[in-house]
Amino acid sequence: MKLVRVSIALATAAFAGLAGAAEPIKIGFSMALTGALAGAGKGALIAMEIWRDDVNKKGGLLGRQVEFVYYDDATQPAKVPPIYTKLLNVDKVDLVVSSYGTNEIVPAMPIVMRSKMVFPSLFGLAANEEFKYDRYFQIMPAGPEPKLDWSRGFFELAAQQKPKPQTVAIVAADAEFALNAAAGARENAKKMGFKIVYDKTYPPATTDFTPIVRAIQATGPDIVYVGSYPPDSVGMVKAANEVGLKAKMFGGGMVGLQFAAIQKNLGPLLNNVVNYDFWVPEPTLNFPGVKEFLAKYQEAAKGKGVDPLGHYLPPFAYAYMQILGDAVQATKSLDQAKIADYFRKNTHDTVVGKVQFGKNGEWATSRVLMVQFRDVQPDNLEQFAGPGKRVVVYPKAWKSGDPVFPYKQ
């Protein structure tokens, strides 16, 4: 056991320097900088650093400069508890925020709860369902019933079409988010009177998706809801195109179609796909500051091997820091109870629009958008930077166009 203690001593010594200077406000978090979620994690970090620089340029928080203390969790949940205990007990950070993704957020919960810290969190799906921690605030606009709200728009859109589609196929990757999305879709479909004719999952490591799409085709569904991750989203869209999927609506919960590189590669294959999103450069969503933020992000992202446009996660990563910063400024303190109160009681202006928190720290009202790809040209990245390619078709409040139905003529 000697070695453990020696190494701990070493680690402590290494950080004595940091812990000594109490001047700046320290915000701690873990982030997936390697491993499966690193693509998103690195993009989020760039956004957060833009926020930090913005704030510091304006004089910091409470007159103190803001400093980040963050560690790579390598997308391994087991690394998260030591990281957060270190942040809180060794680095003695003043504030914490979460890593990206449910798997990396939940392991931090018990630790953050024990210290009664406010925990702004970045894209955990229903992560607070079990804990019901009242200082947890989720920036992902999934709404008070995240699992249901996620696909509500998709099915409502379908139900509005004439003639009303009757049958639905649900297919999802064997992994956390996709299965939750599919579970919500199942409920929504039943509620809105659709008949589920296909309901299966597939391993994320699948190479060829054509047999899956064909099996779906064979059941003749009117609409197809897909819960998938980036590589399989690509595979699914390609396979649907190759097999000539005859569904009238296709898409739903596909992660990855929000990313520029994938959009560019899929090009016209995306046309008429209806998929969820949280922010797109449509006129209805032109919130104050978002353009400026994206310009800075796109500059910073060059050569970093992350999403070059950064529409999906980065604005939200910026926004959750924005709210935290505002809370500190407004309450003029680092008192966690006061900050939490501020989070709870106010509507927050951010680059992703007005945010209000409700039950379990989720958004009080859902803002899961359904966007439809339109008029996409092949092999062109720039087209996605502007409006018109991803038309918001749901919900009404943010709508920028009407859905084209059916998916394939």
Partner: protein, 290 residues
Amino acid sequence: MFSADLFANAVVSGLLLGGFYAAVAIGLAIVFGQLDIVNIAHPAFIIAGSYTAYIFNSTFGFDPVLVGVAAMPVFFAVGVAIYRIYYAAFERTGQESLSGLAFFFGLMFIIEVSLILVYGVDYRLVSAGYATGALSIGFVDLPGRMLVPFLVALALTGLIWLYLSRTFMGRAIQAVAQDRGALQLMGADPIRIKQWAFGIGIATAAVAGALLIIIGPVEPSVGRQYIGRAFAIVVLGGMGSIQGMLIAALLLGVVENMVATFYGPSWAPAVSFGILLLTLAFRPAGLFGR
């Protein structure tokens, strides 16, 4: 749900997928099957091949398959260099079994992380005209994205088979693991033969990598998904037999797609690896061992 066209498509798409698997496994069939070198980093080399194809495709617009073929000499040279290290550190001292395995494990991480350090973790894709659209024959669809890799893989397999069975070097490669002392008596230097063969094995990764990135998006760690599959195919194919490897790859593709079509895709890996486990337990020489 069963129907003739579904069945036919499952078989055909399974064959196409299996063809691609053959490209992934052929390098291992040489290196592991014939030289008995447990190169667990082979899929990492395939990913390196994908990135090579990606870089030349995205900057110069070259065809990924052509890039893959053009990159073969470079991969070959890398393979030769790695074999030299492997030989000097392990084979010569008789440490190859456990230490050699760990060596390639480490190599896999080094390749993976180096790619991450240089190119980041974002998904990479290539564009090629044939990668979209499908050829339809009757009620059977042949997506270009799968068909082209299938044909290239078949050509690669055929060429390697011809090389191994028709050339002096090829026959020597087949012989070297069977009896290296006897090979020496034929006037061949076993070390040079193995080095050459290892180079060829790695060179195939350049092409397999190009095929992988035609089929779908790639990031540095997706190679891990193919470790189990590639070894399974080589073992099922009876180690080192190129025909056996091809049959095993096609079979695995068809089985996976049949299960995915008719039973549920989430059971596909259990079925294919279940077959491997049973084969190992009851017929360790492989299904097609000769």
